[in-house]
């Protein structure tokens, strides 16, 4: 068939497809699309794809092929876009998906916990034994500012604050802590090394500070302050590190897959873990800004609630969930 006749035969189909695509692109401006029009589209699209295949095969003029190629691509994008269904997905994630994903990677979770808490404990013990070790980690000015934060005689715990600074600190925690978690994750793509670095670095730092505070006997302010939000915050850092290690490990040991495919698959799992870590960190920022810092609550209340939160986090993550019913 000559191109001329071919074009005559399909022109109606192409014009109609172009019209529907155009209407689809403008749908938000002109309200919803007519359903009848939409029902027409899949059949039109199949015909369009067929005509494109024919046009390519017969080497019809490049402009024609390009025109059809563009129509087919837009059609493909419209018909095969991912569904949202956001509300249901979020609920499912909070109640099942997140914990399930952690449990699917239980060994990695414990390993990452060890990588984070191990150096923290070692550093804690070392700093207790030889207190001057803190100064080889931090400059004296920063040590002094930490001391000032948790000085029991200052009245305000955590950071110097008045009541309206809670919101300010909330913002600060969001920006700072979630940023740390995101960096811990992202750096994992360098064959897990970046995540390991951030985990160990933060662990060592946390261990040394805790020991130093213990050494100077500011424990009555420090531990009641950190126990509450620490449960979600430290666990979130572990999970972010876990996601990063997963990403990097796909490149180190891709198994039967190509490295690229292994990376893509690992990224799917890892991003689910990151949703959870982010959720935890937002929760942590709330607790840290509006609960941990409160100076009107009794220390025993803070310890009780803090302990409860730690138990809750681990039960939430590790209590067996029903098998996934939906991808």
């Amino acid at each position: 068939m000559r191109q001329e006749e071919f074009e005559k035969q399909y022109e109606l189909c192409w014009k109609r497809s172009a019209l529907i695509i155009e209407l689809y692109d403008k749908r938000s401006k002109q309200g919803a699309l007519d359903n009848k029009l939409l029902d027409e589209f899949p059949a039109l699209y199949r015909k369009l794809c067929h005509s494109l295949a024919v046009a390519k095969e017969r080497q019809y003029s490049p402009f024609l092929v390009e025109r059809l190629d563009r129509l087919a691509l837009r059609g493909h994008q419209i018909l095969y876009q991912r569904r949202w269904g956001l509300g249901k997905k979020v609920l499912n994630f909070v109640f099942h998906g997140f914990a399930r994903k952690v449990q699917d990677n239980a060994r990695l979770f414990w390993l990452t916990s060890f990588i984070f808490y191990g150096p923290a404990l070692i550093m804690f013990a070392l700093t207790i034994v030889s207190p001057e070790l803190i100064y080889s980690l931090l400059p004296p000015s920063e040590v002094a500012s930490f001391e000032a934060m948790y000085d029991p005689s200052s009245g305000a715990i955590g950071r110097e604050r008045e009541s309206d600074t809670d919101v300010r600190m909330f913002g600060h925690y969001i920006q700072n802590n979630i940023g740390i978690a995101f960096r811990t994750f992202a750096a994992g793509i360098f064959f897990t090394l970046g995540s390991l670095f951030f985990l160990i670095f933060n662990g060592v730092f946390f261990g040394a500070i805790s020991a130093h505070i213990t050494n100077i006997e500011y424990t009555s302010t420090f531990f009641p302050f950190v126990i509450g939000h620490g449960s979600v915050e430290l666990t979130a850092i572990v999970i972010a590190g876990m996601a990063g290690i997963k990403l990097g490990w796909a490149l180190v040991a891709p198994g039967n897959l190509t490295r690229m495919d292994a990376l893509k698959l690992a990224a799917k799992d890892a991003v689910t873990l990151m949703y959870g870590a982010t959720l935890f960190l937002i929760l942590a920022a709330f607790i840290e800004a509006f609960w941990s810092s409160s100076s009107t609550l009794a220390i025993s209340t803070k310890y009780t609630v803090g302990t409860f939160l730690w138990i809750f986090v681990y039960v939430y993550l590790l209590f067996p969930r029903r098998a996934r019913h939906e991808a």
Binding site: R2, D69, L73, Q175, A187, K264
Partner: protein
């Protein structure tokens, strides 16, 4: 073709070609976005500084969102393109050509940190030059690709002249080349047209450039099916 394009096979059994965006365009788009982000930062900084500590808290949250989710927001709600990408006429899609998904957009933008390491986006840019689709680390992990927005192709009509059969039989790619020439004739200068048709001088049996060009046009008409 020499153009950088990424081919996707779709369920309908045909292949679509995605025109891959070049690193230079992406760097320019990135710079535009950096300026846009800076402007937004200055505006929200000034507005929220009026509200004391409360404002500082909100500002920190917004700063965080601007820092990490600026691109995610635009990629999801602006057809895969941040303002910078829109200005450069490029957009992000999944590897299979469909609009970028939430998870993919989040992965590619979180990994921006790794791409930026250790400075001047060294890893990201190096990575772009090490694979055929100019993907940075974030694109590799997320399974996304940055492509040109395809412009609507205007209908082109080959000038109608009396059709003539070619004197020798042509292979299909040769036919395609002549058809394409017929379609582009109005966008080329006369000299360039002559130059191109002169290449065919041995097979055209026409003595002047003018005649050769008319002959090629006539063949294009014939190939198109006009008689």
């Amino acid at each position: 073709m020499l153009d950088t394009s990424h081919t996707v096979e779709i369920p309908e059994g045909i292949e679509l070609s995605l025109p891959v965006a070049s690193p230079l365009e992406r760097i320019l788009a990135y710079m535009i976005d950096a300026v846009v982000q800076l402007v937004i930062l200055i505006i929200i900084g000034n507005v929220f500084s009026l509200f004391g500590n409360f404002g500082a808290g909100i500002f920190a949250v917004l700063y965080f969102l601007l820092n990490w989710f600026y691109a995610v927001f635009f990629e999801m709600f602006n057809d895969g393109a941040t303002p910078g990408k829109k200005a450069m006429g490029i957009l992000v899609v999944n590897d299979d050509g469909t609009p970028v998904s939430w998870a993919a957009s989040i992965v590619r933008n979180l990994l921006r940190f790794a791409d930026a390491f250790p400075g001047f986006h060294l890893f990201g840019v190096t990575c772009m030059f090490l694979n055929s689709n100019f993907k940075r680390l974030g694109d590799l992990a997320a399974g996304t690709i940055v492509i040109h927005r395809k412009k609507e192709v205007q209908e082109v009509v080959i000038k109608e002249v009396k059709a003539e059969a070619p004197d020798v039989s042509l292979l299909s790619d040769e036919q395609s080349a002549i058809l394409h020439f017929g379609e582009r004739i109005d966008t080329l200068s006369k000299d360039r047209c002559n130059e191109l048709t002169d290449i065919l001088a041995p097979m055209l049996k026409a003595d002047s450039s003018e005649k050769r060009m008319n002959k090629v046009l006539a063949i294009a008409n014939w190939l198109r099916g006009r008689r």
